[in-house]
């Protein structure tokens, strides 16, 4: 495992795009963790004397509020900084949830085959046949709006990707000789599935997890934008976008800034994911 990670990092360093992604991700994690120290103001405090202030570097802006304030007089910069906390933890929660459930189902489907496989795969097909955001909306509508329900919804939508990838990989690995050898030396099914086979399916899983991170953030922001995700006064980028929608002409920075934040974080995760895919795929490795 250690060797594997070392080699992975070595391959990854050759890819400039994914290194940029890594740097941005690390920076945003630092920002999220140190939010209380970095944020100049309380993100929920309403400064009634300064509504709709433009950023400080634009005419009419105040040096007190670097990125200006929103329609209720809350500091945008602080809200964006605290928003990174929400977005990153949402992304993380979605990946963990869908990864664990998806991997479990995928391994079982691939390993046992037959009726178990068919049942699991038809259900995932069912989920995949619906547009993911629509399906998420349906789930949130049933569970009720809120950030935790949004996480659940987005995770459910993300599970099929993991199931499919893992199942395909397990079916390949299952027929390898080391599995027969492990079986010979007395390994039970559980051990075969999760200790022998699963680590060998790691490569595509890591890539999918990275891409799932950005999908999770994006989908949760979308739910927030539709008013089904994070609820006021929580500062979440998607919700901020939706709140600022009516001021798009009078104060465009209110829409632009959270949008940019989402774009940058999602993009950097995608860059990292692509880099990981290149680093882990032996076929691509040989070509270069």
């Amino acid at each position: 495992m250690k060797v594997f990670l070392k080699e992975l990092f070595f391959e990854l360093r050759k890819n400039r795009g994914s290194m940029i992604g890594v740097v941005i991700i690390i920076l945003s994690v630092i920002v999220a963790v140190l939010a209380p120290l970095l944020a100049p103001h309380d993100p929920t405090h309403i400064y009634t004397d300064s509504l709709n202030l433009p950023p400080s570097f634009v005419a009419g802006g105040s040096s007190r509020f670097f990125f200006g304030t929103d329609d209720l007089g809350r500091d945008l910069l602080s809200r964006l900084i605290y928003g990174s906390q929400v977005s990153l933890s949402v992304g993380f929660a979605v990946v963990v949830l869908s990864l664990v459930i998806g991997t479990f189902l995928g391994v079982i489907a691939g390993f046992y085959g037959g009726l178990i496989d068919k049942t699991i795969m038809r259900i995932t097909d069912l989920i995949m046949s619906l547009p993911s955001i629509l399906f998420a909306i349906v789930i949130v509508a049933v569970l009720g709006p809120g950030i935790s329900n949004a996480i659940v919804a987005v995770s459910i939508v993300a599970i099929p990707n993991f199931v499919r990838i893992i199942r395909a990989q397990v079916m390949v690995e299952k027929s390898r000789q080391y599995v027969a050898a492990a079986k010979l030396f007395g390994a039970g099914n559980f051990r075969l599935m999760f200790i022998e086979i699963l680590p060998n399916c790691m490569a595509p899983l890591i890539v999918q997890a990275t891409l799932g991170f950005s999908d999770g953030i994006l989908n949760c922001a979308a739910l927030g934008f539709l008013g089904l995700g994070a609820q006021a006064p929580m500062s979440e980028w998607g919700t901020m976008l939706s709140d600022a929608r009516s001021y798009i002409e009078s104060s465009p920075w209110m829409v632009t800034l959270p949008g940019l934040c989402i774009l940058i974080v999602v993009l950097s995760f995608n860059l990292l994911g692509d880099g990981l895919r290149d680093a882990l795929d032996p076929r691509l490795k040989k070509q270069s």
Partner: protein, 331 residues
């Protein structure tokens, strides 16, 4: 008798053929404690399938039937998966053809070897590690302590096969099945590995089934030899006898097509092309009627195509052959 199999038949269910494929037919053999049995045959002759059946490792599509199959007082025909798990790896073990794929590439030698010892011998972790080091030095791995930390890809093929052997013998099995243990290794290592297996066999009074398609390998190491063709035994006997006087045309042809076959007689490299057996092993759905070898046999007569040929037993040393025109003279 440690292992005794009577009339083993293995069929495979297949989507492509309406009736199940008959992969192994009427196979009977037995093995004494401490004996080494060589099984020789071309690819597809049923050697590996037979041994997978002995380990209960065949896929669900296989139908295994036999008159009887006993190993060390276990009735192999009526074992549940839980009981198989107790026998597999503990009383009967196996070495695989390609050690590089038989070890899990993601787990260290220590993890794979020590876990095996821990589960089977019920030792503490520390004792298991000691035992693992002891085993690794027994199979001739230098600085075994450092090698424990290694991953399979850091080992050479010969090293990995030694680790595999260490794993296989860690539980002192009564029977070791070596399925072409040296095919993936180069010739110098081949000899070392076979000597190691032989040494361990004698040390632990273990029985060994050595599967190979290299007659040179078995002739030196095994006491008894069993030649298989198209899912049947065509000839068995004591290795030396069998190689000196093959009765079945197939065994004869197989021996004649060894690179060294002519060199021995004439003490020089032959100028003629290496003899070969024309044709290929018939596919499962194109098995001939009568003697399985008849399409490729130079002695084939009308009777050879007339229905199943039984085994003829001869002499006190249990020499058996499946042929109606056996080659009886000296070669």
């Amino acid at each position: 008798m440690l292992l005794s199999v009577k009339n083993l038949n293995i069929h495979f269910k297949s989507d492509r053929s309406p009736s199940p494929i008959h992969a192994v037919r009427d196979l009977s053999f037995s093995l004494k404690q401490g004996e080494m049995l060589g099984i020789v045959g071309e690819s597809g002759s049923g050697k590996s399938i037979t041994n997978m059946a002995l380990l209960g490792l065949l896929p669900d599509s296989a139908i295994v039937k036999a008159q009887s199959a006993t190993f060390n007082q276990h009735d192999l025909l009526n074992l549940k998966e839980k009981e198989w798990q107790k026998i597999r790896g503990r009383e009967v073990s196996m070495i695989f053809q390609d050690p590089m794929t038989a070890l899990n590439p993601f787990l260290s030698v220590q993890y794979q070897l020590v876990e095996t010892i821990q589960t089977h011998l019920k030792l503490s972790k520390k004792d298991s590690i000691d035992k693992a080091i002891e085993l690794l030095s027994l199979v001739g791995i230098p600085s075994p302590k450092d090698r424990l930390k290694a991953y399979p890809f850091e080992l050479s093929g010969g090293m990995a096969q030694r680790v595999m052997i260490a794993m296989a013998i860690s539980t002192n099995p009564k029977l070791l099945i070596a399925d072409e243990p040296t095919t993936a290794l180069d010739v110098t290592i081949q000899k070392q590995i076979l000597n190691l297996i032989k040494m361990l066999q004698e040390k632990n009074n273990m029985s060994v089934i050595l599967i190979t398609h290299d007659l040179g390998v078995v002739s030196e190491y095994s006491e008894r030899l069993q030649v298989m063709y198209a899912g049947e035994i065509v000839e068995t006997g004591e290795t030396k006898e069998l190689i000196k006087h093959p009765h079945h045309p197939y065994t004869h042809a197989l021996l004649a097509s060894r690179p060294g076959a002519l060199v021995d007689n004439q003490k020089r490299i032959p100028k003629t092309a290496l003899p070969s057996i024309s044709g290929i092993v018939p596919a499962f759905n194109q098995r001939p009627i009568g003697c399985q070898f008849n399409p490729r046999c130079e002695f084939m007569t009308h009777e050879c195509q007339q229905g199943h040929i039984g085994l003829t037993t001869e002499g006190p040393k249990l020499r058996e052959y499946r042929c109606i025109h056996p080659l009886m003279g000296s070669k």
